[in-house]
Assembly symmetry: C2
Homo-oligomer: 348 residues x 2
Amino acid sequence: MPESSPLVPVRDVPPNAEIHPGELEHPVTPTPAFFVRCNFPVPSIDPAEHRIRIGGAVERAFVVSVEELRAMELRTVEVTTECAGNGRIGMQPPAPGVPWDDRAVSTAVWTGVPLRLLLERAGVSDDAVEVRFDGADGGELAEAGRFVSYARSLPLEKALDPDTLVALEMNGEPIPAEHGAPTRLIVPGWYGMASVKWLTGIELVTEPFQGWFQRDRYVYDPDTGEAPTPVTSMRVRSIIHRPLEGSTVKPGTLHVRGWAWSGDGSITKVEVALGGGDQWVEAALESHTTSPYAWVGWSCSLEVRTPGRHLLRSRAWDSAGERQPDRPPWNRLGYGQNAVRTIAFEVH
Amino acid sequence: MPESSPLVPVRDVPPNAEIHPGELEHPVTPTPAFFVRCNFPVPSIDPAEHRIRIGGAVERAFVVSVEELRAMELRTVEVTTECAGNGRIGMQPPAPGVPWDDRAVSTAVWTGVPLRLLLERAGVSDDAVEVRFDGADGGELAEAGRFVSYARSLPLEKALDPDTLVALEMNGEPIPAEHGAPTRLIVPGWYGMASVKWLTGIELVTEPFQGWFQRDRYVYDPDTGEAPTPVTSMRVRSIIHRPLEGSTVKPGTLHVRGWAWSGDGSITKVEVALGGGDQWVEAALESHTTSPYAWVGWSCSLEVRTPGRHLLRSRAWDSAGERQPDRPPWNRLGYGQNAVRTIAFEVH
């Protein structure tokens, strides 16, 4: 990608890229800057031919076309989505997997059919416990030693949430190929692995789903012999986008800005620390949207007079009472790394 | 400092700077690239007028000029010196103090008078327990709330080590001002705070020294209420200088090179890991010197074929059986941070 790309590549094949630091200032991430996470090559799907099958433990299995979905009652939700592996590079020791820095997170406005409407039309059987979502992507996985298709499940309650969408549009346009065209699931508040791209199948299942991306990957493995548990909602986190890591600012008043989000409630407080130690200053929260699923802006002003290198941190609290931890919470595969990040910048 | 400076400034006043990554390849650091650590403004001392006073619990106190020192039996030792705060930026959470990355470490060839000769000439009293060294540097310290002169002590045993020097030359030239001209202590194997610069006084003391830089700074404070203990020898550590953090290399065979050192013995093994997880490869050790106090070179070759971002780590063992820890060992002031460092580089 050229120098001016709004994305920073992490893996070339399949495409995996983080939002460029310079694009973090936008409340709604411009579509070309939205982070890209692909487990397999991007499927090429003809929207005119595309169908989603709704079946399994339902009264009336059916298939639905993109055209039919477009004719249904659509809903629009602004959602911050973060990769479950975001921040993996900061694990100590680093975990195996795609080495995401901390910018595998973006915000978009998604428009689509509430999944609930499709489930109601199908009639969910009493014995259904989860909904499995099948993507069109798949391939040979060395770690699995076999061909794996992408699939993930949701508990019924989250599947029936009115804001869980089968999305057709991203920021008012058809969804680009790398983001799941023509139809993807959007699960507000959950890490990105739940928002299955290139959605082709919705299956009501009567036992918890045991697929590769449900039980072997996207799980918290405590590495103690205890059973791993599937990754679900986004842990409370914040990111600084002004000043940027490695940037140079003039001595004087420093305007610090960033975002904070949580999948388990609203952001209640953000604090900022200049330098090491335990001196924290409360930032002002500045919501740009009424969506409970979008990150919240925050800012504060600090005086920085000493020329040279300085450190800066932010930490967020959510309405569930959780705060970002000082150190990365350990799990073998490096998911949910929401520890306070220290950035360095220069004053000159 | 200009872009081409062999140093990366961390604080401008007083001067504090790390060796530039591009200068790390030298077994003996070029003098202009040697890291600079100053607690106070650099004293300006006329070598012709300079005297060191040896006194306290001795039989014969005396003063000695630079000229007299030069006429004594000189010894030359190659020594790797690391700042006790090196790596502080990697503490989680970051500690207060100068935010050193991991390049406050350098190697030089020092020539000077073994301290032992001066102590023998003075005749150490039986009740002496430590030797205090006074630097000419000092100033008002906000944290201390008073004027503090730089001073540090050594136990008698280390002071009497034949390789502990009152140095007159650095890399075959008179010591530059910022490195302690005209006379500085060199304490091989210990963190830099022990190698008192601008040395003006050597005092035998009968009680453990309680000065600011002995009891309030350069101490391991466990932050648990237990008493802090003075920082002494350098913990085992390694650094990668090829590839450099953030650099881009071509797919294929990657030649990895670096240094390893310990103040508590020789380096016995270095391992390298590509990517996250626990796959380590043993590196070959390549000593360039017979000095037991200089860092040891190491190298290995790895195959890296996948374009994109990759992680690299090294970890060293010493003959005392110590290994670099996976996570920074916590202490309140951020000293002795010798954890394995993860660097990221690009393959394209």
